[in-house]
Structure formats: C-alpha cells, structure tokens
Symmetry: C2
Subunit: 214 residues, 2 copies
C-alpha cells in the first residue's frame, strides 16, 4: 500500500467513525423523544426538532417512524433494561433486589433523562394492538423480563437462598408489577416519594420467602 | 294543568330522558375509546366511529377532545376506580386487599372492556406534561388514590389490625405501584397469568405487618 492510498483509507475510516458517532448520538436523541412523549405523540416534526435533522435525512438513515421506534427500543434495552436486570446476578436475593430497585429508582428520578420508562410507555401504548411488529415486540418484552426474574428466583432457590416451596413465578410477577407501576408513577415528579418508598420496602417483602438459615 | 299541557310536559320529559340516556351511553363509548386507544391515538375520527356521531354533534354536546377526555376520566372514576377503592372499607386488611386485587383483576381480564386501565394510560401519556388541565388531573389522581390507601392503612392501624410501627405510606406506595403495574401488563392478554399471580400473592405480602393477636 502506497502513502496515497493509506491516506485515503485513513480519511475514509475517520469519516466512518464520525458518521457512526453521529448515528449513535442521533439514535439516543430519537430514543429520548419517544421516551418523553410516547409513541403516538412523537411525530416526525418532534423527531426533527429532537435530532436537528430533516425528515428526509432521518428516513434515509433509519427508515420510517416505526423503524426508528424499534431502534430506540433496542437502544433503551441495551442502555437501561439490561443494566437493571444485570443486578439480579447477585448471589443474595435481598441484596440483588435492593440493587435492582435502586437502579430502577435511579433511572426514574434522573432529571437528565425523560420521565418514566420507555418500555412501560411502549407497552401501555402498543401492547394492546392486535397488529404490528412493535406491538409484538412490546408484548414479548414483558415475557422476556418476567422470564429473567423467574430464572433469578429459581437460581436462588437451587442455591438454597429461597425456600423450596416458594412460587418463583408469583414472586417474579410481584416484582414485574412493581417495576412497571413505579415507571408509570415516575411520569410525575410529584410521585417520586411513592416510588422511593416502594423501592425501599420492596426487597424486604421477599424476606418471608428466604430459606431458613441452616 | 289541563290535559293538553300535561301531554306536552310528558312528551318533553320523555324526550329529556331519551336525550339524557343517549348522552350517558355516548360518554361510555367515548370513555371506552380513550381507554382502548389512549389519549393521543384517539382522534376525533376514532370518536366519531366509536359513538356513531358526527364531530359537530360531539363538539356541541361535549366540547373539544380534552373536554371529552375529562368527561371520560370522571366516568371511569365513578364506574371503576371508586368501586375498586371501596373494597378498602373492609375492617380486615387482608380481606380488604384480597377484594381490592380481585376487583382490579376482574377489570383487567374482562374481555368486554378495553385492555388495561384508563387511569394508568392517562398518567403514562399525560402526567409528564408541564402544561394542561388534564395533566394536572392525572397527577392529582395518583396523590388522591395514594391518600386513600394511606387512610385505609391508618384506620387499620388505629383499629389494632396493623402493627403500630408500620410505615403506612410505604405500604400504600407498594399497593399503588402494584396496581399501576398490573394495569400496564394488562394491555397484553398474554400477561394475564402475571397479573393473576401478583394479585393472588399481593394480599399475603402485608401479613408481616399485621398486629400480633392479643
């Protein structure tokens, strides 16, 4: 490779890095717009204002509104949901749930982020629709997250941390309902005390299901 | 009063009854449209289709979309929320909460009604908006319902049913979060088992806060 072709490749790779950075930043802006305003209220005008890009640039780069919502949903899943559910990896169920609800609380009361939770909003607005890829995706996310909770409770049970007779599905259902409800309440900062109090009390609710110390 | 004027009055009163019956029925249809589709997705076209009335008749009878949403919200409050919260009147907290979560479940899995909960939808879509009467109303409803729960737990505490050291605000926060979360999960009938299991387990979660038998 001569110097000239090396220079050209370097320039090209710099441009690609710059384009890929802008793309990531723009996806984050799109995510924040849907998160704040919801699926329906996020018109293409709202997306233009949020990203500073013209609609044709948005369509060219990302596809239509539904494609942008799907990208935003995947970004939220990577940036927020996975971090939240990773707290369940802890060996101690009470510590894990304490970290889980603390992480959820941190997202909800963060003034630098939109109000509430992207997933709760998407499920409220879309999970009842009989047609559409996004509705499927919103319904599937409920099941996936519930399954992750069940897997964690099953692991704690297998490790002797949770009593054998515990209904892991029912406990997971309680945690799922709490998390989704906190997300809706988090749309109003007036309700932050309610979220804080429920986050503080929730881990203790499972204490009666802990295995007796041996 | 002569026979003729009596006949005229009877006819007028029949018409008024007919008009008032239609009005109530129409408000119910408006409520169901907002409940199913949400605030944003319920356009005036959706309301025309739901009620079988032309937009001008709707505007003349009820005012603009926001006025119709407010009427719908008040109707939901009377028809659903008040019945739900009336279960808290029971003297025994475990029975009360069992009836409370059973009533909530009955609303959510009723195939003859729209999916989820009108209030949860309204709060998800509107409680984050800084301006507007409806947003105010959605925020206020969270506080009102939480206050009703606190009042019930305080009453049970005063009656010696709940242990003195119990944090009634925190327990109320747990119940609020559960109810709102179940409502979001209820947008997908796939998630009914999650709602059923959380509804069955929830009343038992407060058992550790019951006063010791004397």
């Amino acid at each position: 490779m001569n110097d000239q072709s090396r220079t050209i490749l370097n320039e090209r790779s710099k441009k690609m890095r710059a384009a890929s950075f802008d793309r990531e930043e723009t996806i984050e802006k799109i995510m924040n717009a849907f998160w704040e305003h919801g699926y329906e209220a996020t018109s293409i005008q709202v997306l233009e204002a949020a990203t500073g890009l013209k609609r044709q640039s948005l369509y060219n780069a990302f596809g239509n509104k539904d494609a942008m919502f799907e990208l935003a949903s995947n970004r939220y899943d990577m940036a927020v949901s996975r971090k939240l559910f990773a707290t369940l990896d802890h060996a101690d169920p009470v510590i894990a749930l304490r970290e889980f609800f603390a992480a959820q609380l941190a997202v909800l009361v963060d003034a630098d982020q939109p109000a509430g939770c992207f997933v709760a909003g998407g499920q409220q607005e879309l999970a009842n629709r009989s047609e559409g890829q996004l509705s499927e995706q919103m319904r599937a996310m409920i099941e996936e997250q519930h399954d992750q909770l069940v897997a964690a409770f099953e692991r704690w049970k297998a490790d002797g941390k949770i009593a054998d007779e515990t209904d892991t599905h029912a406990l997971s259902a309680i945690v799922m309902a709490l998390v989704r409800g906190q997300a809706v309440l988090g749309r109003s900062s007036l309700s932050y005390p309610i979220i804080e109090q429920s986050a503080a009390l929730a881990p203790g609710l499972i204490e009666r299901y802990l295995a007796a110390p041996t």
